[in-house]
């Protein structure tokens, strides 16, 4: 085992971004190993802490440092309890929207419009599976207003400047009956967190 080796245990919704950031930062698989949990857990946050616990129980001893690629993500403190037991750190934000946008910008968006529904690159790519199918809108389209009736804007927090994704995000907004708002935020605080843990 290499001294100083790091595990990033992350939500599957961040896999592509973390791989890209690793390449940008010049971090090899020997420096930083990546393991992901299914992104679908976003819709079932009670399952996040037990799943993280399972992996850390099995693998924590292999690594010197662990970065958990989750925010608090609606776990109600359960994730932090698990991380304290395993001496692991997570991103210090409520959820991925906040660490991509940065706390200040995220607060500004929510302050301007509380009814903001957020998508990231990953969520745009997987909108059909995670939002439409995940919320049962494919089977019960009439539930759309039960889910989204209190939202006004769909805010696409883009990591990449990708016109095809922007087109998909705009279509998603139309489908949900929301105004489309585009913000290119990049990788936000995720980049700094990865750089810090990778280069300790």
């Amino acid at each position: 085992m290499r001294q100083g080796r790091c595990l990033v245990l992350a939500c599957g919704a961040l896999a592509k971004e973390i791989v890209a950031l690793k390449a940008q930062l010049g971090l090899s698989d020997e420096d930083v190993a990546l393991q992901c949990l299914p992104a679908e857990l976003h819709n079932r946050p009670r399952e996040i802490a037990p799943r993280v616990d399972e992996v850390l129980t099995a693998r924590r001893h292999e690594f010197d440092r662990v970065l958990i690629g989750y925010g608090e993500c609606g776990t109600g403190g359960a994730l932090d309890e698990v991380l304290a037991r395993h001496d692991a750190q997570r991103l210090p934000h409520a959820h991925c929207y906040e660490f991509f946008a940065g706390t200040t910008q995220f607060a500004e968006i929510v302050e301007a419009e509380l009814g903001s529904f957020f998508l990231t690159d990953y969520l745009v790519r997987n909108f059909e599976r995670l939002v439409i199918t995940g919320l049962g809108l494919d089977r019960f389209p009439h539930l759309r207003d039960s889910y989204f009736g209190n939202y006004r804007d769909l805010v696409y927090l883009a990591q990449l400047d990708d016109e095809a994704l922007q087109k998909q995000a705009r279509a998603a907004a139309e489908r949900l009956g929301l105004n489309y708002v585009y913000r290119k935020v990049g990788y936000g605080d995720l980049a700094a967190a990865l750089a810090e843990i990778g280069h300790v």
């Binding site: 946050p45 009670r46 608090e72 993500c73 609606g74 776990t75 109600g76 403190g77 359960a78 409520a94 929510v110 509380l114 009814g115 919320l135 049962g136 809108l137 089977r139 019960f140 539930l143 039960s146 889910y147 209190n150 939202y151």
Partner: protein, 228 residues
């Protein structure tokens, strides 16, 4: 129903019909639940009994399966829609009934900064089914809204809901204000929402934590001394 294999609801005796209603409610079949509700009323059933024996009991089963991960939010919303279709028939009868079993007023609302209301709406429906007059404050409520509603409606119970980890601490702000004003001593406060747990409810000095809609309704009944 034209299909020979379909169940003809009117052909069922009362006990079988109530069981079928629970099944239909579980399957989210709003038209069938509506029809069965009407049949029971036509047979002289008291609206309170239709509500408690069929609809509320059906939703209680839904609540258990939701808790156990057998049903998920979309299915539960379908079930709620089916219950609502029965409630549409019962509500006007209950409102005019001399045998109205009101347990008092329950004021409920999602806290400031939070626009999520699916859970709150389910709880509101179950509370109505349990016999409360429900005053729904909607979403994004600052403490002033709760105070005004308490002043206006003199509720038996106050309920607060939050979906976000970032908004749930506001429940503590409201409870603290109620305590400062001497209201908390006489007004039970229930809290609920996906990221909450009993530990959090205890920490903010809430009277009780409603894990799901069915449990919340039972807890509310217990708080006003009318537990079954």
């Amino acid at each position: 129903m034209s299909d020979g294999e379909d169940i003809i609801l009117r052909d069922l005796n009362d006990a079988d019909l109530v069981e079928q209603m629970k099944d239909d409610l579980y399957d989210g079949l709003a038209n069938e639940v509506h029809e069965a509700t009407q049949i029971l009323l036509d047979r002289g059933w008291d609206a309170n009994d239709v509500l408690s024996d069929a609809l509320v009991e059906g939703m209680r089963i839904v609540g258990i399966d939701f808790r156990d991960g057998i049903l998920f939010v979309p299915e539960v919303l379908q079930c709620a829609g089916a219950m609502k279709s029965g409630m549409e028939l019962l509500r006007p009868i209950l409102a005019n009934s001399e045998n109205k079993a009101s347990l008092g007023t329950y004021v409920i609302g999602t806290v400031k900064g939070d626009i999520h209301d699916i859970g709150k709406n389910l709880v509101g429906m179950m509370l109505e089914g349990a016999g409360f007059e429900v005053v729904d404050l909607g979403i994004n409520n600052p403490v002033e809204n709760y105070l005004a509603a308490i002043d206006k409606h003199n509720p038996s119970v106050l309920g607060m809901s939050a979906l976000l980890t970032t908004t749930m601490p506001y429940m503590g702000v409201v409870i603290e204000e109620l305590d400062k004003r001497g209201i908390l001593a006489n007004l039970p406060v229930m809290v609920g929402g996906a990221p909450l747990n009993q530990e959090f409810a205890d920490a903010i000095n809430a009277t009780s934590y409603g894990r799901d809609a069915a449990v919340s309704a039972e807890l509310a009944r217990a708080l006003v001394g009318r537990n079954r």
